[in-house]
Every structure is written in C-alpha cells, then in structure tokens.
Amino acid sequence: MIQVIFKRLLMLVPVLIGITLIGFLLLQVMPGDAAERAMGTRASAEELAEMRRLWGLDLPIWQQYLLFLRDCLTGSFGVSIFHKKAVITLVAERLPFTLGIVALSTLIALVIALPFASLAAVRRGRPADHAIRQIFVALIAVPPFWLSYVLILWLSLRLGWFPTGGVGEGLAENLYRLFLPSLVVGLSTAALIQQTLRAALIDTMKADYVDTARAKGLRRHEIFLRHVMPNSLISTISIIGVRVSWIIGGTVVVEKIFSVPGLGSLLIDAIVSRDLPVIRGLTVFFAIMVVIVNLITDILYALADPRVRLE
C-alpha cells in the first residue's frame, strides 16, 4: 500500500510540470497586465515600464518560468504582486474556510442524500420514489446564487437563525457561519449523489448475500444498514471525490454572496487584477489538491472494497 501511494505521488511530478508550463504560457496570452490594472489611468508609459521592472514583469519569459518553478519547489508558489505576500501564505489564510465548506457541505450532502436515496430505493416505482426524483432534479437545476439569496432572506433576515455571512473566530463560530454556504453547496452535492446511490442500492438489494441474510433471519432494517448500505456507498465515494476537487476552487459565487474569504474568491480577484503570480501559484496548488484528493478517494475505495486492488 505504501509503495503504491509513493508511486502515485511520484506521478505528481510530470503532471505538475505539464500544468506549470501550460498555465504559464496561457497566462502570457491574456490581455492586460498587472501594472496597468494597478495604475492604469494615472501612470505614463515610463512609469508603467518602471513598475514592470520593479515587479520582474519585464524579464524574458523563460527566465520568469524558471523563477516560477523555483518558487513552486521552495514552497512559496510565487509572491503576489499586490499583496506582497507569498502565494502559499495567502492560500493558508483562506484554506481553513474553504476546507470548512468542503467538510460541512459533504456531511450535509450525505445526511440529506442517504435517507432519501434509501426511501426511493425501498419504495421503488411508487409515488414516493417519483416525488423524490422530481425534488432532486429540481435541486440540480437550481442556480446557487438564487438559492443563496432565498436562504439568506428566509433563514437570516426573517427568522434570524443564522448570520448573513462572513467568517468568525474559532471552530464553533466558523461552523455556525459557514452553515448556510455549506448548505447551498451541500444541496447540489446531495442531488448529484442521490440518483447513483439509489441505483446502487437497488442493485445491491438484488444480490445473493441479501437473500442469504434474510434466510438467516435478520430483520429488514438490519440487513439494510449492515449489508446493503455500506456496499452501495462505494460508488458514491468516487462522486464525492470529484465533487470535492471542484469545491476547492469552484464555489466563487457562494463565497462572494456570503462574504467568505475562500480560495475561489482569491483566484477570481487575482484574475481581475492580473496578479499573475497568484494565478499561476493557485493553478499549481489546485492541481496538487486534485491529485491528492484522487489518491485519497482511491485509497478509501480500496479500503472499503477488498476486491479492489490499489494500483
């Protein structure tokens, strides 16, 4: 197992080289640069040139690329032009909030999807199944910005149960404040896993060992909880893995509406202000995250299902 993990981490290297090269080159083509975004209407051409020199933007491209690779290897991932801090520092400041949303939303998704998928599977074909399908299809279609504002209007403004956004100090306060944004993200995740989970449950319920368990005299809900559910959850793990990779940088809309300083906002703000070091550094960081999440997903898969071998 350890050997395999090691091999997989080693595969990170060519992946990252590819990403750094492509990301770097693509960004060079983008119109506009950081100096103009900073001082555009105020500076003369000479001043802009001076600023570019101060920020190292006028170095030849291959040199900038090598400096970027060096920054990735030393762990700083570059230095932000505007914040003047290492990209890794900016990421560390925001990672707890993003990870909080990841964890909380996945938990909420499981809490919502499991019971409904079970109900739909057990009552297959009957009105309850159809109703549940309609609701979850609607959940996939609902735009997150609409859902966010609806939740804020009802749960924050009218009922006052939750704050309208922002983040706080300490674990407890942050879990409380991140609940609504996590709910928005979690509801779509739930919608995604519900259908496949239902299908997996239906398949598993037809298996031979389920008949054996019934023959042995186990009661229905015992069979369901101890045999059917765990074996069906395996397929869900893959979906959650893909989804988590996306959440880490993709929840910008929810972050902006709830004023959560997460990694998605960091990326978008860097793009608008053309803070190239941050964009590059974040791209590499996200790539690393995706590889790690995939690895964890595969490990969990292998642990959960002894028939699957990790390779």
């Binding site: 983008m30 119109p31 506009g32 103009e36 975004r37 900073a38 001082m39 555009g40 209407t41 105020r42 500076a43 003369s44 051409a45 001043e47 001076e50 600023m51 101060l54 505007f82 914040h83 003047k84 900016l90 400041e93 925001r94 504002y149 804020i152 209007l153 924050s156 403004l157 006052g160 149960w161 704050p163 309208t164 956004g165 922002g166 983040v167 407890a172 306060e173 409380y176 902006k256 509406i257 709830f258 004023s259 300083p261 906002s265 960091l266 703000d269 608008v272 053309r274």
Partner: protein, 505 residues
C-alpha cells in the same frame, strides 16, 4: 435506550452552543461598516485601490485635506501654510499632534514621508518629486522648495499618498511596519483578516480633542452589493456603502434606515476614436452628444442619483458651474449628421466593461437613443481588463468609460482626458487641440488663483466644444445607514471620515 439518551443530550448541548452564538456581539460603541473592497496594503505609496485608500485615510493624516465641499482645502496636520508668489516655496506650520504610540509628529517625519512619496519606489512619485528641497526650520516648521514651478504639487499634498508616517519606526522596521502601522489619524489598526474585515480602535492621542466619539470601528469586506444591503437590514452592520442603486428607494422606506448620496470626483462618458471615420468629423461627434438624453439616462440608469455631465472633468476645484451640458436635441443631431454626409446614420461598435452595471445599462440605453437618429450601435461586452487593453490599443470605435480623480487638483485629470500627446493622448481618442496643450503647460506653472482658474475654464470649454467624448453623467455615490448613526457621510474624494460619527442608540 442509553444511546437514545446520549443522542438527545448531544442535541441539546449543540443547540445551546449554537444559541449562544446567535446573540450579536455587544460592542455598544463600535461602528460597523460594510464596504465592497478588501484593502490590498496599508503602504500609502504602493496602492491605488479604494479599499486600501479608504482604510489608510482612517489611520494616517496628511498635511492638508480636501474639505467637505470637495472644492477647497482645509488644515490637516498643518495648522497653517504659505505659498510664495512664484510657487517655488511652500512653508508649513505643523500643529501639536502625536502618533498613536505617543510620539510627536515632527518636521522630520514630514520630510521623510514626502521624500518617500516622491521616490522611485513610489507608484505616485510623479505627483511629489517636483518638490526637490526640504528645510527643517524647527520641530514644527518645514519649508519645501521646488526647482521649477509645478502648482499641483501643493494640492497633491492632500492626496492619501502623502500620508505622514513616523520616520524612526519605518526606518527600524522597514516593510514590517505596515503589519502594525502607526499613524496620527483617528484610528489604529487592531486586526486585519484579509478578505473578511478590518478592526480599528480609536487613537487615544488623536489631535482633535474628544474625537473620535466611537470607541472603534469594524470595516467588513462584503463584495456583493446586495449582500451589503441585506447585512444592514439584518442589523449586522450600521452602515452599508454602495448598495445596489435599484434598492435605494426601498431601503429608504424601511423604518430605521436612511440613505445618503454625494457626487464624487467622477465623470462618465463614451470615448470616440477620432482616428476612425466618421468620428474624425467634429459635426458627427457633436451630433452624438445632441442625440443623448442625459436626464433620461440619470433617471433610468442611475435611478436619479447623479447629474448630467457637461464635460469629462469631474466636479472639483476650478470646475465651471456655468458650463451647460449639450441639450437633448435629436433634430439638431440629425441635421448635423446630414451635414457631415451621414443623413441615414452609420454603424459602429460600442465596447463595454461587462463587470460594471452602470456602464452596461448606459450602453443599452445609448443604443436605443442613438438608433433614433439612425446610428446603429453593436454593443460588445468585454471583460474589464480586456476592454481597457482594447481601448488603449486604439482597437475600438466607441467605448463606455469613466474617470475618477485621486487628487483635488484638476491637473491630473485634464492631462489624462484632454491633452495629446500626454500619458493617454486624450484618453486614447487621439483628439488634439493645440490651444489646450499650451494652456496645460501654463497652468502647471501658474500659482493657484483666479488666473489658473480662468485657464481651466477655457480648457474645459474647449474640451466641451471639441467633443472627443459623448459626455454622460456624474454618478452619485450612495450609502444606506441606520438612523441612530449621526455624522456619517461620504466625501467627494469617495472616502469617509469617521471621527465625527456618533451612535445615538
């Protein structure tokens, strides 16, 4: 049985824990403001974004500062001053003020800060480096001299970039100073969670006795305009800056909430590329100005918050109150177009920054208005940076844009929007007027006074007549606040001062 009991007690404990968090923080005398920008840095010479500027102006002081009308200057750290007749000598008498660590503000600190602001490392160097000599008369008197006359240098000392910093601490700590900055302004930085909020405590040594009245302030970073309005309604903040324009009336109607507005140093207009036909013809450019109903634009796009613009210059020092905007006269527009050889109008592309709601809505309204005189506009929505690049490179027919001024001296803006050749060649329209160029050279050498005022009036008149832009409006900046907040307002420089605010709860 026991597992059920355990589960219930866990549920109860969680509920109790959450309910204690639901109670709002009880800081009775802290002003909470929701603003849309996250500061980037607290170094006055290294920033140009609103979030940084507004926060810096609460922590630091400048020698002089714009007064509340926006057209004059009032004393800041300088109690009094004199400017020599030839404009080459500026003498300042400093007041008895202290930094937030108790040390006095001295002439040495002033020299250090202004030299730093004019240095090569400063993004604002050009505004201050004409000041070449400093003479420290005593701890509280300093004389600055210029090699060549450059009148804006004096007004530029009111700019946030000219903030007076403590020399000793900056030399000791270097860049690390800005992690815990020390200034002479009404507030001190207590905490800064990037992307989330800035917490300020009041400066116990502030030179205005008895101020600030509040014990502290929290500036919450809320980038979504609707979210700011919601926070105000939920009672989580006391003031919300820049709520969505279309929600202002509804907010004002709610009990306990009032709104306010001010016209800052900003002018919106449409650039016309004078190197391309038909925009090289003055008659066409003027025709387009006559074809736009500015009053309707202010009502429809700005929901009434703003006023029509007669020129591309914001309303600031030396602004001409008598200059009238082009009236709405579609008949005259058609006549001018026919005279220029376009009786059936023409087609053109209008580049718009898709990220700015005001520009987008103005573009759509303009498309409809110009259609009536036969001008068919194709609206091109572009990402902010891309739109800027495109206009800069001259790859456009028409482009919606605006300009804001950081300093009260109109020299910065006129040089940008009207002078060719200069930094932007008349804001990339390539329009050129020799007389205006000559006046520009002169006004920077002329001391502040009626002579300089007359020069600016003439320049603005010529810009108005030459019409390289379709002048639109001066949009107002609005805010919404709770009734118990007294003394809050936004200044024409777009920032806000909090030392006069009281909370009458």
């Amino acid at each position: 049985m026991t597992s059920k009991l355990k589960f219930r007690s866990l549920l109860l404990a969680t509920a109790v824990a959450f309910s204690s968090l639901a109670a709002p923080a009880s800081w009775a005398d802290t002003l909470r403001v929701a603003m849309g920008y996250d500061p980037v840095s607290l170094d006055p010479i290294a920033t140009s974004d609103n979030g940084s500027i507004w926060t810096q102006l609460l922590i630091y002081d400048t020698l002089i500062r714009p007064d509340k009308s926006g057209t004059g200057l009032e004393p800041g750290l300088a109690e009094s001053w004199t400017v020599s007749d030839d404009g080459l000598t500026l003498s300042f008498k400093l007041r008895d003020a202290k930094f937030s660590d108790g040390s006095p503000v001295t002439a040495e600190d002033v020299q250090y800060s202004i030299e730093r602001a004019g240095s090569k490392a400063s993004g604002w160097g050009r505004f201050f480096n004409p000041i070449t000599g400093f003479e420290i008369v005593n701890d509280r008197e300093i004389v600055m001299t210029l090699d060549k006359p450059f009148t804006p240098a004096f007004n530029n000392l009111a700019l946030f970039a000219a903030a007076i910093l403590p020399k000793k601490l900056l030399e000791e700590k270097g860049e690390a100073f800005f992690d815990a900055p020390v200034g002479s302004g009404p507030f001190v930085l207590k905490d800064w969670t990037r992307g989330a909020s800035i917490t300020l405590d009041k400066n116990p040594y502030y030179w205005q006795a008895g101020k600030p009245a509040v014990d502290g302030a929290v500036l919450e970073v809320v980038t979504e305009p609707s979210a700011r309005a919601i926070k105000l309604e939920a009672g989580e903040v006391d003031v919300a800056l820049d709520p969505p324009l279309n929600q202002l009336d509804a907010l004002a109607k709610e009990t306990g909430i009032t709104t306010g507005e001010v016209i800052p140093y900003r002018a919106d207009f449409v650039l016309m590329n004078t190197t391309r036909a038909p925009f090289d013809d003055l008659r066409v450019r003027q025709a387009l100005n006559y074809a736009v109903d500015k009053e309707a634009l202010v009502k429809g796009v700005l929901y009434g918050r703003g006023k029509p613009a007669a020129s591309a210059m914001p309303v600031m020092k030396y602004a001409d109150p008598d200059l009238a905007p082009y009236p709405y006269d579609p008949a005259k527009a058609k006549a001018l177009l026919a005279e220029a050889g376009y009786p059936d109008g023409f087609e053109a592309e209008l580049a718009v920054d898709s990220g700015k709601a005001t520009s987008r809505n103005a573009a759509i309204a303009l498309q409809a208005m110009l259609q009536q005189v036969g001008v068919k506009l194709k609206v091109q929505m572009l990402e902010s940076g891309t739109q800027w690049q495109t206009t800069k490179a001259g790859n456009y027919d028409m482009a919606v844009s605006y300009t804001t001024s950081d300093t009260i001296d109109p020299d910065q803006i006129i040089g940008f929007v009207a002078v060719n050749p200069e930094r932007a060649n008349a804001y990339h329209t390539q329009w050129k007027d020799e007389r205006l160029n000559d006046l520009y050279v002169d006004e920077r050498k002329t001391v502040n006074g009626p002579e300089r005022e007359a020069m600016f009036k003439e320049m603005v008149q010529r810009l108005h007549d030459g019409a390289p832009f379709v002048f639109l409006f001066h949009p107002a900046t609005a805010w919404a606040q709770r009734d118990y907040v007294k003394g809050f307002e936004i200044l024409p420089t777009s920032n806000f001062r909090l030392e006069d605010v009281t909370l009458d709860k």
